[in-house]
Subunit: 140 residues, 2 copies
């Protein structure tokens, strides 16, 4: 299935028993992947209808690469695949939550998660994840 049913009204969206995704003007829906073991957010990416359908069908996280303008089978080149343990929709069906088993690093930088920096009140960022070996990041 790539042709999802069109979204209904608020009641249907929130109470419905069928995925009816609300894609944005670019045909995309936000997807958050978390590590099923730790609960940590690994990445936030985007899916079009094809990516969402393929993720449901294969159980492997598939996104839409906005920069490359093509389907992005996570880990296809890096081997850092995401096995989807559970896929959830939010109340108004414009966001997806994937609980995944992550092989290797989720982030292209080599960090386990894309969210490797925490912000302080003054807007400064500090590293809160272990840097990958030889990544070249010069954080203290």
């Amino acid at each position: 299935m790539t042709d999802f049913p069109p979204p209904g009204d608020k009641t249907a969206l929130e109470g419905g028993a069928q995925i009816t995704p609300r894609f944005n003007a670019d045909g995309l829906i936000a997807a958050v992947a978390t590590d099923v073991a730790t609960g940590d957010v690994l990445m936030l990416a985007w899916m079009n209808a094809e990516a969402l359908a393929e993720t449901l069908r294969t159980g492997q996280a598939t996104y839409w690469s906005r920069s490359r303008g093509e389907l992005w089978r996570k880990g296809e080149t890096s081997g850092h695949v995401q096995n989807v343990v559970e896929l959830r929709m939010d109340c108004d069906q414009d966001a997806v939550w994937l609980k995944v088993e992550q092989t290797g690093a989720a982030c292209h930088t080599g960090f386990r998660t894309c969210f490797y920096r925490a912000a302080d009140e003054d807007g400064s960022l500090r590293l809160v994840e272990t840097p990958p070996a030889g990544c070249g990041h010069d954080h203290a």
Copy 2:
């Protein structure tokens, strides 16, 4: 601070020690809130520069309501505030992860999380969270 420095190049974005958010064409950045105790994703919402700055300054999650077109101090009317324990930026600085202490329900439906339904391979949705009392949802 509401005026964040402009985003730099890829190296600066990924290695920088300062928040330089990449807001989208609407001036917004995606924000994922997780429950600091359970790791569960509670909601995905949006922040403009003012909301991000206020969240950093106050430690209380503040978003931009796209439907109402106004700053949305989470819990201001419902009391269901989010105390921000940690705020992280992702590699290319177009997404924020908030680890929060959630008072009450995160979702306006009364569910603890907006992601109360899991999808099966055929696109059907099933309830995976405990419904709030008297919520009117007729899931089995």
